[in-house]
């Protein structure tokens, strides 16, 4: 036997009470785990964004177009190492309910600039550059529909139509790519902008946005200014920002997710703090006589204090551990169905770490009052009672 056994025996002497406390703690941690995973997934765009990548959009709003001629003009700006462009396609597969992320891109440069995020191999790169109607598909999306290289599939747009009035473009899958970073999802498709632009009925010669890499993050501000100055007072003014700032502003549009998460998790934790704290005060009060006996046997006040704190810590760690495991299971089960809207939903190491921190804090906070009571207990008084 050691103190650990003593602590565990104390905790589980009233099994129902211990289980009820564990249940309330695990619920709070399950809520924390799931909501934290959502918050992190919402902000994943900021995490994967690279410091030297800038995004150029129309100053009016990023849904407004820019002319294709900006590609060459921006490529010539000093400090711009690489530049590419893309257009939102508004895609779906077969039924408008099957929303699918499709972007029309310039084949060579787009793959270069996003090569740090996704693993495009030489063969698919070469086929994409050679095939006008080619499409590159992320591993997740390909798996969802069972697509293979060589398949010809119709992909529809809810925004654009072809000159013949059809909303559907036929593309040939020339490659299926994986990811290079754990935080990104491969739930999207790339088609060629030149093919898309030539066949669409309106908006010809325009693009949605440009992405560029600077020589170094240090000159980001100067490059942004140069670009925006260059197009000032033209019909298409630009707004250039880092990829990170752009993603952050976009996520902020959904509403204050972080605030909601904080409020709900806060409410859950205040609840269990009260419940567990009170229950532990009661549990320790019931044991007054035993604590007096322990002290008589020579257990010091500090040792008794540690035993009680150990009990609340153990309680928090058991409940919290199970709760986080449940959160991981819940997010794993939702991951695929939500990946189009919230990519990469998971309880990662960062969340687990902060959960453990919370468990320790909760364990100490709930044990504080009962442990202090046990610490101060006078043996003669404790023997008198009960």
């Amino acid at each position: 036997m050691n103190d650990g056994v003593l602590i565990a025996k104390n905790l589980f002497r009233k099994k129902l009470r211990a289980i009820l406390m564990i249940v309330s703690i695990l619920i709070a941690f399950a809520i924390f785990g799931v909501l934290a995973a959502f918050e992190r997934a919402f902000n994943a765009g900021q995490e994967v964004s690279e410091d030297d990548r800038l995004v150029v959009v129309n100053k009016i709003n990023f849904t407004q177009p820019l002319p294709i001629s900006y590609f060459n003009r921006i490529a010539a700006v000093p400090g711009v190492r690489q530049v590419t462009y893309a257009n939102w396609f508004g895609g779906y597969y077969q039924d408008p309910k099957n929303f699918t992320i499709v972007m029309a891109v310039e084949p060579a440069t787009y793959l270069d600039i996003t090569a740090s995020d996704f693993a495009y191999d030489g063969a698919m790169r070469e086929r994409f550059e050679r095939t006008r109607t080619g499409a590159l598909v992320g591993r997740q999306l390909a798996a969802k529909w069972g697509w293979k290289v060589g398949d010809r599939i119709p992909i529809s747009s809810s925004i654009f139509q072809q000159k013949d009035g059809s909303h559907s473009w036929e593309v040939e899958i020339v490659g299926v790519f994986d990811k290079n970073k754990p935080q990104v999802d491969t739930n999207f498709m790339l088609i060629r902008w030149d093919y898309f632009d030539e066949t669409r009925s309106f908006g010809k010669d325009t693009i949605g946005w440009l992405i560029l890499k600077t020589d170094s993050p240090a000159i980001n501000d100067r490059v942004s200014e140069t670009i925006d100055k260059m197009f000032e007072n033209s019909f298409y003014e630009t707004a250039t920002d880092t990829e990170k700032a752009f993603n952050k502003a976009f996520m902020a549009q959904l509403g204050n997710v972080a605030l909601i998460v904080t409020l709900v998790v806060g409410a859950a934790f205040v609840t269990i703090l009260m419940i567990v704290g009170n229950t532990m005060v009661m549990a320790v009060r019931e044991r007054t006589r035993e604590i007096a006996v322990l002290k008589t046997l020579g257990f010091s006040g500090a040792r008794v204090l540690r035993l009680v704190l150990g009990e609340t810590l153990l309680l928090a760690l058991i409940g919290g551990g199970i709760g986080i495991a449940i959160a991981a299971a819940i997010t794993a089960s939702m991951r695929d169905s939500l990946s189009t809207f919230v990519p990469n939903l998971e309880v990662g190491p960062g969340i687990v770490l902060s959960a453990v921190g919370l468990m320790v804090a909760l364990g100490l906070a709930t044990g504080l009052v009962p442990a202090w009571n046990a610490f101060r207990l006078k043996i003669a008084d404790g023997m008198g009672r009960g």
Binding site: L20, I27, T271, I272, N278
Partner: protein
């Protein structure tokens, strides 16, 4: 028997102060659960209300087939002309059809609360545009003059986003616009929009001859069906025609689903946590009253009053918690405004709405926690052996 129940219940309730802290923890736990549930439901109700009040039954909206939202739609000038001659459309006193072809664009604004860029809808509307919407009236300034680069802004948009005050000049691209009026529209989604004259918006955004939607005032109950048939049978049209009400209720369902799907599971999960607390409190209540209960049993009371008394104590605690939660939510959140991205990829401003029905749901949840949390301890109280209880 009733007297017995009343007597025991009174003893139970009077003994609550002796267990002040555990009882308080149950009350606070239940209150927080109810607050979480009600704030999500109020958010959902507010959002639904905003979109529901936007759609009129007697206005039809035409979109390109498959577009789903105005932002994705595209309609040509020829199609607009065909629709103006369609059957079932009401006409104004001047004999012109009440039809508004509209262009829906997104421009940047700055959200006051976060200081970040946000997508705001700029709508170019036809002459009949304002009349096609319920309760539109200018509350400050005046309506934009046709042919001018003037805009009017919705009341909600003005409150949530900066830079659109009356008399201010706003710049979209190279064009400058003057804000000449602020309008209300029955608390509908239109209050989160900027309106300008259609031809001016088309030309300053280089979208000549393109439209996104057409709104048409219907002249009677059968008119929508006639209009649909007209569109379906003309190969030049083939548009999706539905009532505006239907269109907005489809739009509200997605976001609304998300809020509800988040709110209820969260509240139920938290309710289980609070339930654990309630059970602990009530078991300790039964344990601490063991001598009283046994004494009453010994002098001839039956077990049933002990059961009812315990259950009543639990229900009272949960009821107080539920009431506190409802009042707190009402104080904090009723009328609280927020905005999020709607189906049109633009911000929709809405207010949290705490309706009596919503509050009812919160109170029911609280009482369920109280009922379940009191049941098992109440059974224990009723079944407690008298001798054991008397020993304390």
């Amino acid at each position: 028997m009733l007297k017995q129940i009343a007597a025991v219940t009174r003893i139970n309730l009077r003994s609550i102060p002796q267990r002040f802290w555990p009882s308080l923890s149950t009350v606070v736990a239940v209150a927080l659960v109810v607050m979480v549930l009600l704030s999500f439901l109020a958010m959902s109700a507010g959002f639904r209300q905003t979109l529901a009040s936007s759609g009129a039954e007697d206005v039809a909206i035409a979109l390109r087939a498959g577009a789903q939202a105005e932002i994705n739609s595209a309609i040509t000038r020829d199609q607009v002309r065909l629709l103006e001659d369609a059957p079932g459309i009401a006409r104004g006193p001047d004999g012109k059809p009440l039809v508004s072809a509209e262009l829906y664009l997104i421009v940047d604004g700055i959200k006051r609360s976060t200081g970040t860029k946000a997508n705001l809808p700029l709508r170019g509307i036809g002459e009949a545009g304002p009349a096609l919407r319920k309760g539109v009236h200018v509350v400050a300034g005046r309506m934009f003059a046709p042919g001018s680069n003037e805009v009017v802004v919705g009341k909600s948009l003005l409150a949530e986003f900066s830079g659109f005050g009356l008399g201010r000049t706003v710049k979209f691209g190279t064009a400058r616009w003057t804000v000449v009026g602020v309008f209300e529209a029955d608390g509908s989604v239109f209050e989160s929009e900027i309106w300008g004259d259609l031809p001016v918006v088309q030309s300053l955004f280089n979208r000549n001859n393109t439209f996104q939607t057409v709104r048409m005032k219907l002249d009677g109950p059968g008119a929508l069906a006639a209009l649909k048939a007209y569109s379906d049978h003309d190969p030049r049209l083939k548009l999706e025609v539905k009532s505006e009400k239907e269109y907005f209720s489809e739009q509200s369902s997605q976001t609304n689903d998300l809020i509800q799907k988040l709110g209820w599971p969260l509240a139920i999960a938290m309710a289980f946590g609070a339930l654990a607390g309630a059970l602990n409190t009530m078991y300790s209540s039964v344990a601490s009253r063991a001598v009283e209960i046994a004494t009453l049993r010994a002098i001839g009371f039956s077990g049933f009053p002990a059961f009812v008394g315990t259950l009543a104590e639990s229900l009272v605690l949960a009821g107080i918690g539920g009431a506190i939660g409802a009042v707190a939510t009402w104080l904090v959140f009723d009328g609280f405004t927020a905005s999020t991205l709607g189906a049109n990829f633009a911000q929709v401003v809405f207010s949290f709405r705490l309706t009596p029905a919503t509050i009812g749901q919160g109170v029911v949840l609280a009482l369920v926690v109280g009922l379940v949390g009191g049941l098992l301890p109440a059974i224990r109280a009723a079944r407690m052996p008298i001798v054991k209880g008397l020993q304390g």
